[in-house]
Each structure stands twice: as structure tokens, then as C-alpha cells.
Amino acid sequence: MNMLLDRTIRELNEGLNNQEFTSVDLINECYRSLEKLQPQLNAFITIIDKKTALEDAKKKDSKRSKSKSYLHGIPFVLKDAYISENVKTTSASNVLSDFIPPYNSTVCQKLLDSGAILLGKMNMDAWGHGGSSENTDFGPVKNPWDQTRVAGGSSGGPGVAIITRMTAFSIGEDTGGSIRNPSAWCNTTGLKVTYGRVSRYGCIAYASSFDTVGPMAKTAEDCAIILEAIAGKDPYDATSSSHEVPHYYDLLKTGINKKIIIGLPKEFYGNGLNDEIKKSILEAAKVFEKLGMKVKEISMPLFDYGIPVYYLIGPSETSSNLARYDGIRYGNDRSFFTEETMRRIMIGTYALSAGYYDAYYKKAQKARTLFIKEYKKALSECDVILIPVTPTPPTKLGELINNPLENFLADIYTTSQNPVGVPSLALPCGFTKNNLPIGMQLVGDMFSEDLLLKLGYEYQKQTDWHKKKPKLE
């Protein structure tokens, strides 16, 4: 069935400006979808009261002529890791089961200022701890392509809400694949930005030196529009970058003026990668070749060490970040953490403890330096790196959450970019025989979001994987 929400943000903006439909129509359509599908899929933790959202939409409709923002009157949702004033924010943990933030995260404030309409706060792995959106105190998120399977994570709720048209776009948080993994497993487009590109102020921390705030949407073009609205220096986040924010959307239309070289690191295509996923990505590489780009094999021999680096530093930082949850100023006490979160706190505390600090944490920080060099070298041989997002299609519910180490290994392709800081765009690139979506990622140099989005935009002009949506009753 054709829906208004099948359209891209630019198309929605056009329709709104031409008075083909109103924001009220959009919001009504979103609530029809979410009222029907939320009971099956469990994408939301908090749904904004429909009346409030409709009143907001009416106001946006009446002010339409005065706004130049593409996001004016467009519905969005936030992963529940972003605090939102007077709207319950839980990070999917019972530690914050009834936390009502007294102020807005920068990303939330920027989107509200640009005229977007908040519909809800999304289910996820608690504190970002997971790749399947099963580690949540609010019940697992179900994959709309096959409800016996997971939606990916940690930003599973956002992925589901976008592909089922409960919203136009969302903000996810990516610490080791949390935007890219659910994008691949739900068939949406998601951008893990360069570290510091978007302010983390008001974003509930998982691992502070890895955490990034980025858009999830239907297309690369949508992501360009959203990124332009949320990127930039924020005095409230000292790690945010003053690197100039280009007009990502306008730049899409300027084309690519050089011969792009796409590198395929052979280590990322070895044992453990599902054949159908490999085949789809190699097909995608051919699409890029047809667009005049050069594809070549490269080597990134450190590949195998990505998981240890990530799962030593990430838990170390999280054990420190989560130390603040003592139940005194807000929230419940530490007995409310889930088992998976306690495991990560324990791993981190162990890696940081006297006697083990040098062997684990310090060693991983040194390996991190080697990874930075490895990516620098790879990106001197090519402009972007094309790799899988996940080794397998979406797993069955219960498969990962019950096996801690397997759970970690599912992140094998997405964890090594965060310690380095480089951006990565995840895009739909096919389906398995069983009609499960497949994603790929394009990794570029620091602050090369404009190039990644251009490549995604060109690819999506040639293909229509990103237009496919699940049939749901």
C-alpha cells in the first residue's frame, strides 16, 4: 500500500509546501501505523500522546509559509538514549524506569527548533549494550520482516519505526555499530558520523570516546538533510568539533568530481561471512563500477583484533560512566541493571583494575593507535572502504542474548571504526532468499560524510532496495 510516509523528507517537504497534504495528515498516518504495529513489534518505549502531536502539527501547518527548514512539520523519533525535557527517558533500563529529564539533549533541541515533531522514544539495548535490542527491560524489539527474529541493535526501535512508516526518521546512537546494525537488519539507511561531528550533550553515555549521534532514515538523501540540522560545534560538549558543517544536502546534487576508488579489504570477506551477504555486497560493488568508480582489493590485517580492542575499551568506559547511577539524584539503584549490563560493567572494571590495567586496558589503547594507522593506510589506497555490516542476516530471538561471546562477535564488522573515529554509512543492498534484508557499509576518512552521502545517493538512484518495506497485517 502506498503511504505518504513512503516519501523521502524532500518529497514530504514539497508535498507540504504545495498543500498536497498537511503535517496533521502525516501525524495521523504515523499514529495509524504505530497503533496497529506497536503491539506486535514493540519499537517504542514511550509514545507521545496523539493529541499533543496533532496540536504540534496544527501549529506547524499554520507557520509553514514562514519556515525554510526541510524538517518543518516532519515527524521523528529518538532512541531512548537522548534526554528530552518532560518526556520520560529510560535508556531501556529499569534504572531509569521513571526518569523525567529536566532539559533537552542538544540533538533533540536542534530538531525541535528546526520544526520536526517528536512522536516518541524508542526501544533499544539498555545503555547501548547489545546488537539485537533484546537487552531491554521493556521487552525485545521484533523484526518486521520476520517477527521471530531480532531487529538489530542497539537502535532497534528506530530501525523498525522507520521501515514500518511509524515515523519519517530517527536519531540513533552508534558506539560499535548501533546505528548500522539495525539499519542493515531492518532495511533502512543509517549514518555513523565522525566522532565529534554531532554534539553528545544530553546523550546517555555508553563509551564516551566511541559514542556518536547520527541519523537513521529511508535514504542517504534524508540522512544528508538531517545531518545538516544536527551537526556542529556545541559549547555544551567540549569534544564536539568546530569542523565546518557543509550543506550536505546541496552537495549531493553537485556530483562526484574525481575517480573514486573503493577498497574491499579481503579480511572482511573471509570465513564467517554469510554467502548471500557477500554476494549482495559484491553486486553492489559492480553498481559502483558501472558508475565509473574503481573497485580494488586492499588488506587490513589487524581485522581480528577489532573485537578485543572494542570490548576492552568499551566496557572500561561504560563501567566508569555507569558508576554515576547510584539512585540518589535520580533513578533506581544498581540492582536494577540487566545481567548483560552487569557483565559489561564487570569486564570493564576487571580490565581497569590494579594488576590487569596494563595487560588489558592500556594494551587496548595502544592497539587503538595501531587501528588508527591501519585505517589511515587503507584510506590512502582508496577513497572509501566497502564492507559488510553484519556477518549474518537477523538472528532468531534469544539466539544472541543467551550467549555473551557470540553476542560480541556479531559486531565484528562494525566495532573497529568507533575506536578510530571514522564515519560509516550503512545502506540496504539486497535480500536473502528468505526475504531478510542485507546491508553494506561505506567507511570514509574523518569528516568525509559529504562523500559517503554522495556515494549513497548515487547508489540509491541506481537501485531500489531501500524502497522495499515489509508486508504487515
Binding site: R343, Q365, K366
Partner: protein, 104 residues
């Protein structure tokens, strides 16, 4: 999944780490974690094989140094006392209430 030959982390060690992390783990979980964390740490230990001699550590990737702000109060960002206390479970006369740490 490969399992380590012996448990790297005994129940006592797990109990000690839990104390450091201020987690009150029931006995059942101590045993379970002893198993699970042993296999995780065993896997992560392969990092020891990397040669990192003379390699400096990286703690952050912003490329920024010494980010300062003016030493001025930003009133836009101040919470009222009421707002700051609004999520606290226990409060008294406009203060957060905590358990006593000294004995009488």
C-alpha cells in the same frame, strides 16, 4: 564457541570485581559470571599477541586539546532547585537525602 581450559576468573575474583563495581551479585550470578567472563576475557586476551612496543596509547580521537570556556555562569543551563530535585527518591528540606556514612 571455544571454552577456556580453566576458569581464568574464580568466584572470589568475580566477587572482588563486583565489589569494586558496587554491584551486589547473588551467589548464582557470581558462578555464572565466573564462567562467562572467563571465556570473554580469554577471547580478548588474544590482544596480547599484538606487538605494541613503542606504540603510544590513544584515549580520544577529537584532535582537540585544551578546550576551554569562559569562567562565567551560563544561566540558560541552570536548573532550579526544584527541578534538580524533581527525580530524587528521597529529599529533605530542599536537599538530596543519602544514607549516613559515619556511625554515631
Amino acid at each position: 564457541m571455544k571454552t577456556p581450559k580453566k576458569n581464568l576468573l574464580s568466584k572470589d575474583e568475580i566477587s572482588y570485581v563486583a565489589k569494586l563495581a558496587k554491584l551486589n551479585l547473588p551467589d548464582k550470578l557470581l558462578l555464572k559470571f565466573s564462567d562467562q567472563l572467563s571465556s570473554v576475557i580469554d577471547y580478548m586476551s588474544k590482544i596480547q599477541k599484538l606487538n605494541t612496543e613503542k606504540v603510544p596509547e590513544t584515549a580520544q580521537v577529537t584532535g582537540l586539546e585544551n578546550v576551554f570556556r569562559e569562567d562565567k555562569i551560563d544561566e540558560d543551563r541552570m536548573l532550579t532547585q526544584e527541578k534538580a530535585l524533581s527525580n530524587a527518591r528521597r529529599k529533605y528540606n530542599g536537599y538530596f537525602m543519602v544514607d549516613a556514612i559515619f556511625e554515631e
